[in-house]
Assembly symmetry: C2
Homo-oligomer: 456 residues x 2
C-alpha cells in the first residue's frame, strides 16, 4: 500500500504496528488491526483516498473517537482506517442563523464550549461528549440526556458534505430551516454508521441557551416507583430537559469510582433537569417534586452550578464506573414507550434473578431509553455464555413492550445478529438495496449493520 503516499496531498498515514493497534478497536471491546491508518486533512484528501480504494478494492473504515459501543468503527483485515483527528476545525459559528459548520473530527464538548461562550448550545450531549466527535455522532445518530426535550442528532443536522465510496463528492440538505427538494439524503446518512458515505463537513442547527436550569434528585425505594414517576411526569404535560435513571448497582459503582456519596440503600435515583425561563421552570419543578413525592420519592434540589456539575460528572462516569464491579459488561441500549419503562425495569429484574446474572440499569428514562448492562466475565466462558443468552431475552422483552433494540448506540457488529428480531425481511432488503446503491463494491465499513455479513 505504498501508493498511499502519492494520493494524499496534505494528509499523513502510518503502517506502524503501534498505530495499527491503537486504531484497531472501539468501546465495544472488539479489535482488529487495519493495514494502514490515514489522517486526511481535507475533503480532497478523502476524495483521492476513496478513488484509490475503489479502484483497488480496498476496504475503508471511518472512525471518530472510537467511543462507539457496538463495534461500528472496528476495522476489518487489510483495510484502511480513516481517522479525522486532523479535520477538527469549527469552520463557522453563525448564531444569527442558528447554525454552525464543523469538520467531522470536532469533539462534541469542544463545540459545546465554543457555543457556550456565546450563550448558545448544541443539544445532543452523549455521555462521552468530552471525547466523541461530531462525525461519529452523526454516523450513529447520537442522543444523550437532553434528547428527551431536544431530540437526537438527526434533528440537528442541516447539511452534509460527504464522499461516496467511489470518490465522488455529494452535498445533501440545505442551509435553511426547511426544504422539500428531492429525497431526504441528509437523514439517510445520519445513523448510517459510516456504511454509505464518508462524511467530510456538517452544518448543525444550534439553539440559544435556556435562561435557567433547576436540577432535581429523587431517591426511590423501588425501580417500579421510579419508572411510574417518569411516566406520570410526561403524562402531566411536563417535558423536562432530562430525566435520567440510575439503579442501585449503578449508584454503588459510581460511588466506588468517583466517591460521590450517592445513597446506596435505595433502589433507584432520578436526576431530572428542567430548563427555560426562570419563573416558568420553578412552577414545573414544584409539580415534578410533588409527583416524585406521590411515589414516595425523596426529593433534593441541587443548590448551585458546582453541585449540579458534580452530579453530571457522576452521571457521565457511569459507563466506565461499572467496570469497577465486574470485569465485563454486555452493554445494551434498549428503548420502550415511556409508559412501559416501569414494566421494562421490573421485567429485567426478573430476568436477572431467574438466571442469577446481575444486570445494572441506567439511562434516559424520560424517553424510555435504558442502558442495560449484563455483568459478566469474558474470561469465564460458561458465565459469559449464560450472560449472552440474556441479550436475546432483553430484546424480546423490549420488543414485546413496543420498543426498539437500540436507542442510540446503533447496530454495528454486536447487534447485527439481532436486527431481524426488530426489522422484517422486506425492510432489511430495502436497506441492503440502499447500501448496494451507494457502495456496489461493499468497500465502505463492510460487515456492519446487516446480519450475515460479519467479516470478522
Amino acid at each position: 500500500m505504498k501508493s498511499l503516499k502519492d494520493i494524499l496531498v496534505d494528509g499523513s498515514f502510518s503502517m506502524d504496528k503501534e498505530d495499527l493497534l491503537c486504531y484497531g478497536y472501539d468501546a465495544s471491546g472488539i479489535d482488529m488491526a487495519p493495514a494502514a491508518v490515514v489522517w486526511p486533512k481535507s475533503t480532497m484528501d478523502i476524495c483521492k483516498l476513496m478513488q484509490f480504494a475503489w479502484q483497488n478494492d480496498i476496504k475503508v473504515i471511518p472512525r471518530g473517537a472510537g467511543t462507539g459501543l457496538t463495534g461500528g468503527a472496528v476495522p476489518v483485515a487489510d483495510s484502511i482506517l480513516l481517522s479525522f483527528e486532523k479535520m477538527n476545525n469549527i469552520i463557522e459559528i453563525d448564531t444569527r442563523n442558528l447554525n454552525v459548520v464543523v469538520e467531522p473530527g470536532v469533539i462534541n464538548g469542544d463545540l459545546q464550549r465554543a457555543l457556550g461562550q456565546e450563550r448558545y448550545f448544541y443539544p445532543p450531549d452523549p455521555a462521552s461528549l468530552n471525547t466523541c466527535t461530531i462525525g461519529g455522532n452523526v454516523a450513529e445518530n447520537a442522543g444523550g440526556p437532553r434528547a428527551l426535550k431536544y431530540g437526537v442528532t438527526r434533528d440537528y443536522v442541516m447539511q452534509i458534505e460527504a464522499v461516496l465510496p467511489d470518490g465522488k463528492l455529494i452535498q445533501t440538505g440545505v442551509q435553511t430551516k426547511k426544504s422539500v427538494v428531492g429525497y431526504d439524503l441528509t437523514r439517510l446518512l445520519v445513523g448510517s454508521e459510516g456504511t454509505l458515505a464518508v462524511i467530510t463537513k456538517i452544518r448543525l442547527k444550534v439553539l440559544p441557551m435556556p435562561e435557567s436550569v433547576i436540577t432535581i434528585l429523587s431517591a426511590f425505594g423501588s425501580l417500579e416507583q421510579a419508572g411510574k414517576t417518569v411516566s406520570r411526569i410526561i403524562a402531566d404535560g411536563i417535558i423536562p430537559a432530562t430525566m435520567e435513571l440510575m439503579d442501585r448497582m449503578t449508584l454503588v459503582a459510581v460511588n466506588k469510582y468517583k466517591n460521590v456519596g450517592f445513597p446506596e440503600d435505595i433502589e433507584a435515583m432520578l436526576l431530572i433537569e428542567i430548563d427555560g425561563n426562570s419563573r416558568a421552570i420553578q412552577a414545573d419543578a414544584d409539580k415534578v417534586a410533588n409527583i416524585c413525592n406521590g411515589f414516595q420519592g425523596k426529593v433534593k434540589i441541587a443548590e448551585d452550578s458546582a453541585s449540579r456539575e458534580l452530579l453530571w460528572e457522576a452521571r457521565r462516569a457511569v459507563s466506565p464506573a461499572l467496570y469497577k464491579i465486574s470485569p465485563t459488561k454486555i452493554n445494551e441500549d434498549v428503548v420502550v414507550p415511556v409508559t412501559k419503562v416501569s414494566e421494562l425495569l421490573t421485567g429485567l429484574q426478573g430476568i436477572s434473578e431467574a438466571h442469577s446474572v446481575p444486570i445494572a440499569c441506567f439511562g434516559h428514562a424520560g424517553d424510555g431509553n435504558i442502558h442495560v448492562n449484563i455483568m459478566t466475565d469474558k474470561n469465564d466462558k460458561k458465565k459469559y455464555d449464560e450472560a449472552e443468552k440474556l441479550v436475546r431475552k432483553t430484546f424480546k422483552l423490549t420488543l414485546d413492550l413496543g420498543g426498539s433494540i437500540s436507542g442510540e448506540h446503533g447496530i454495528g457488529l454486536t447487534k447485527s445478529k439481532y436486527i431481524d428480531m426488530e426489522l422484517h425481511s422486506v425492510t432489511l432488503d430495502i436497506m441492503r438495496g440502499i447500501k448496494k446503491l451507494f457502495d456496489t463494491k461493499n468497500i465502505l465499513n463492510p460487515g456492519k449493520i446487516f446480519p450475515g455479513t460479519d467479516v470478522h
Copy 2:
C-alpha cells in the same frame, strides 16, 4: 380495468367521467383525468391494488385532498387515482406517550380539534389545514407558520406503514422517542411526494398545548425594515412560534376577500406569535415589540382569542385571496437563511419593477420561507411567458442567497425542470437510484420530482 371490482375487498371505485374530472387536478391548476378513481378502505385493499397494478403495469397516483401547489397529485393518462377519503380514522390518541396513530385520509384540522380537546396539539399547520390530509402532509413534508419554533412534518413522523409499488407491506420507524436500527426509511418516505410507497398508516408525535399565546401585529413602512426586524428577533435569541409576513399587495387582496380592515398604506405587516408559560412569554413579547419599534414598526397586540382567530383566518385566506387581484398567480415557495430575508424581499421588488410584473410576497419570514406569487394571466400568452421567465430569476436570487427553491410545497411537476439549479447531478443520480430501488417499473406517481420524466 373491470378486474378492479375483483381485487377490492371493501373499497369502491369509479370510472364515471365526472369522478375522473373531479380527481384529475390539484391546486397547481394542472389537470389530467385518470382512468379510474379508487377509494380503498384498508391497507389490505391497497396491497391488492398495488399487486394488481404492478402485474399489469398500471400507473397509480396517490392523492390526499389535492391542496398541493406543485402538481404532486395530478394523474397521468391511463392511471388509477388512489383517494384516501375512506381511510380517515384517527386510530389512537396516546397522550401519555405523546403520540397518535392515524390513517392517511385524516384531515389535519380534524386531528388538531381532536387533540385540542385534551390540551395537546400537532405542530405542523399548513394554511390549508381545514382541507389537507395528514397523508398528503407526510408525502410533501408540509410546514406551516409554527414550523419556525416547532419544525416541519418530518420532525413529527415516528412510524409509517406503507405499501411498496409491488404490493409488499413495510413498516418503518418505531413507536419510541428514538432508535438507531438500520437506515432511516421513515424520513426517506417523508417528502418523497408519493413516488416511493403508498402510505397507509402514520404514527405522529404530539405535544402538550402551550399555556398561553400572545399575538403581535406590526406594520412597517418598507419590506426591508420588516425583513431586518425578523432577523434581529432571531439574532436576539427569541424563537417565536410564528413570524408571518404579508406585503402590501397581499394585505389589499385579503381586505378585498375577507374585509379584515388591514391597513393598506404600509409596505409590510408582521404577524408574530409567542407561546409558552404566561410569564415567560410576556417578557419575550416586550422584547419583540421593542425590536419592531426600533425598525419603525407600529405594534398592536391582539386583545383576545376572537381577534386572534380573525387574524389567522385572514392569514390562511391569503392564497385564495390573491386570485381576487389577478386571474393567474405563479406560486413559488423559496426559502433563504433568515439573515437574508430582507435581501430576498428587496431583490424580488427589483425583479418585479424591472419586468413590470407584479409580485406579491407573504409567508413564514421567521424561517426564511417566502411564498412568492408572480401575478399574471394564463390566457394572455405574452404576459404569461414574461411572468414565467421570472421564476428562474427568483430561483437564481434565492440560491445565490444560500437558499432552496422549495420550503414546503415540494417539486412535483411544476418545479422539476428547475431542480438541477439546486441539486448536482451526482445527488440527483442517487435519488433516481432510490426511486428505481423502490419502484423498478416506475408505476407509482411517475413523472414527479425528476426532470426529464414529465409524462404530461
